[in-house]
Amino acid sequence: MARKVVITGLGATTPIGGDVPTMWKNALKGVSGAHTLDDEWVAKYDLPVHFAARCSTPALDVLTRVEAKRMDPSTQFGVIAAREAWADAGITDIDHDRLAVAFATGIGGVWTLLDAWDTLKEKGPRRVLPMTVPMLMPNGVAAAVSLDLGARAGAHTPVSACASGTEALHLGLDLIRSGKADVVMCGGAEAAIHPMPLAAFSSMQALSRRNDDPEHASRPYDLDRDGFVMGEGAGALVLEAEEHALARGARIYGELAGTSVTADAYHITAPDPEGLGATRALKAAMFDGRIQAEDVVHVNAHATSTPVGDKPEYTALRAALGAHVDNVAVSATKSQMGHLLGASGAVEAVLTVLAVYERQAPLTINLENQDPEIPLDVVTSARTLPGGDIVALSNSFGFGGHNAVIAVRSV
């Protein structure tokens, strides 16, 4: 019998709240974190997209100036979320050799990299600061979290584009089940609201161009969806072996019952139109958690609001859950906070855990004309989830054909 793994701590900093209580309150209310960017570089580079969903609490309001100086903005968000999750878990006595980190990012230190490149071009190599490498490396966030917590059972950085945050939970579950750790700080962080990534995502037609109405730009499942909205932030979850949590009398939010990761091997960016890879991921996560379709009451969907992405996920959900999919309350929370790329899976995992724990599904906003090809039961107004034993799923898919799914069971 595999070790049971539970979730005992949650943290987040997002466009709809700088901590978990604020994010959760807003997620149930239905707010938009997307706003027009007032940065000079939007006009300077004539960017085709003028808006994004920035973190509602700037990192420098939370960290000291000196702390922040040695961290890329993505790492700053990750450390903020991890500290909240750690405090929330309330672990006071731990063998640090049994504490691991699995903290993901999709892109890593893009601000640091490009700032250093600008410095090199403008001022020469002597002015490129010595902290540049440790700040730009993708494992910078996992390393910083490990350093912060004194986590010595390994610090890992799953990188699978927009599936990264969910894959971190997959890895965290494995680390505990296989006996390599008793507690794992899992999460994902991203800070890519920079002109280059905005230009690059625009160039591939992935971003919404609704410049005159940013708050309504992220509209998963709506017929008028035209792309995702770039977000930023971080989510963090403390995974703990059940016996470890019980021994210290911890508050348990839920069980991380099953996870899975698959690859489409179909196309570098386009999702498999039949959602075959996503279907396999859903089925594998359910198998891993010994979950029947009828157990599932809620799905936090990947649903980025792109014309091509939202439908294959529906196809996959129907293939994995069968007719029961019609009874499942589906939330597309990127409608509120945009797409946090490598952090999205972690933040959505926090929301999924809270949905199970609080028996409330977060809202999907901006759904005015639901795409008839995606007939899901989308949560657009306050929705209470059933009592008793329930399961919720959260999906994440990433460029490269990465599919990752987690299943959270009530305790």
Partner: protein
Amino acid sequence: MASNEEILAGLAEIVNEETGLAADAVELDKSFTEDLDIDSISMMTIVVNAEEKFGVRIPDEEVKNLKTVGDAVNFIASAQA
């Protein structure tokens, strides 16, 4: 050309920016490593920022000789002369 007092004040500002140490803790007889607990990466950051601020070049092989704040002030002053 900055006076030694001006160089010390400028250096203290750079050290404060990098480490958070109070500027008035940065005194001439203080050792960067022993007294101010500045690691090698911070030291190089301070050097790079000092070069920019004072318009001088501090060669890498010279940095190990800058044991105290006073050493750095004297080096910058002579480099500016």
